[in-house]
């Protein structure tokens, strides 16, 4: 069988890098959503404290913040599914690339100078 190890590994590495970038972006956005949620929850707690002294003024504001919190939670849940999908794609892209690179090395086929094994692993984040 004829191989184009350099060309194909370059292509698979590019896919892996794109998936890694997408997965990292999804992680960043997940972090942003967590921060936004925390800020809104803090804001709601403050408003709840103020409500003791002037309940009529604050009730509307609390309702608005509750709406925001609900919207962020919904977005966070939806984004989590997307994040899982991207993580699975990264895993598949990394697995295919890693297996191809190992095979090429075992068979003594030429590999790109910057071929690296396992760099598709992203830092796992606690959601």
């Amino acid at each position: 069988m004829q191989y184009d190890s350099q060309g194909r590994l370059g292509h698979l590495a590019a896919i892996k890098r794109a998936k890694l970038a997408a997965a990292r972006e999804a992680d960043d956005y997940a972090q942003e959503l967590r921060d936004r949620l925390r800020r809104e929850e803090q804001r709601r707690a403050q408003l709840a404290d103020e409500a003791v002294f002037r309940p009529a003024d604050v009730a509307k504001q609390i309702a608005a913040v509750d709406e925001k919190i609900a919207a962020i939670r919904t977005e966070k849940a939806n984004h989590e599914k997307e994040r899982e999908r991207l993580a699975a794609e990264l895993q598949a892209a990394g697995g295919a690339y890693g297996a191809a690179l190992r095979f090429a090395k075992e068979k003594g086929l030429p590999v790109p100078y910057d071929a690296d094994e396992g760099s598709h692993q992203q830092n796992s984040e606690v959601a």
Binding site: M1, Q2, Y3, R8, A92, A93, G95, A99, A104
Partner: protein
């Protein structure tokens, strides 16, 4: 103009769906081939081979049973009453050794019954030949899958490769795909 664009988009969507369906079909075919391979790999060797293996195993056990007996009590009794000092295990082992031909007949009957109701046996050579042929077919399916993914990529549609895709297909030159 707008209608023409819609028609073109519709055709592109249909082509994409057809390509994805074809890819899925290839993947299903590969899975069926892998099932066939598992089935083939687990086929037993012919009955004669199993009978020979059983007889050889019985013979080894019988030899071991006799070899474990301490004969020195008979050869150098030293004034005491000659004794073999057989415990229950020794006695059972010796009985087994003495009856090994009957035991072999019993086991052969059981083996024959298993072979009658079991999958078709294959000799080592037959199995190796059939496995090699199936492996070729599996590789062809892997190459067809990779070719399909490459065609989709050329059309601008990214389709994920399997993490356990065969590296030979992943690294194959485009010329191999046309073959």
């Amino acid at each position: 103009m707008l209608k023409s664009l819609k028609t073109t988009r519709g055709k592109a969507a249909k082509a994409t769906a057809e390509a994805e369906a074809a890819l899925e079909e290839i993947r299903q075919l590969r899975l069926r081939l892998l099932d066939q391979r598992d089935d083939l790999a687990s086929r037993p060797l012919p009955l004669e081979h199993a009978v020979e293996a059983m007889e050889a195993a019985l013979e080894r056990q019988a030899e071991q049973a006799v070899a474990d007996i301490n004969m020195s009590g008979l050869m150098r009794p030293g004034g005491r009453e000659p004794s073999l000092n057989l415990d229950a295990h020794d006695r059972a082992s010796l009985a087994f050794a003495a009856a090994r031909k009957d035991i072999a007949a019993l086991l052969r009957e059981r083996l024959e019954a298993r072979y009658e109701s079991g999958p078709e046996p294959l000799s080592r050579e037959q199995k190796a030949q059939k496995l090699a042929a199936l492996d070729d077919e599996i590789l062809s399916a892997e190459l067809a899958e990779e070719a399909c993914i490459r065609e989709l990529e050329v059309a601008g549609i990214a389709f994920m490769r399997r993490a356990d895709a065969d590296p030979r297909a992943l690294l194959a030159a485009d010329a191999e795909m046309a073959a």
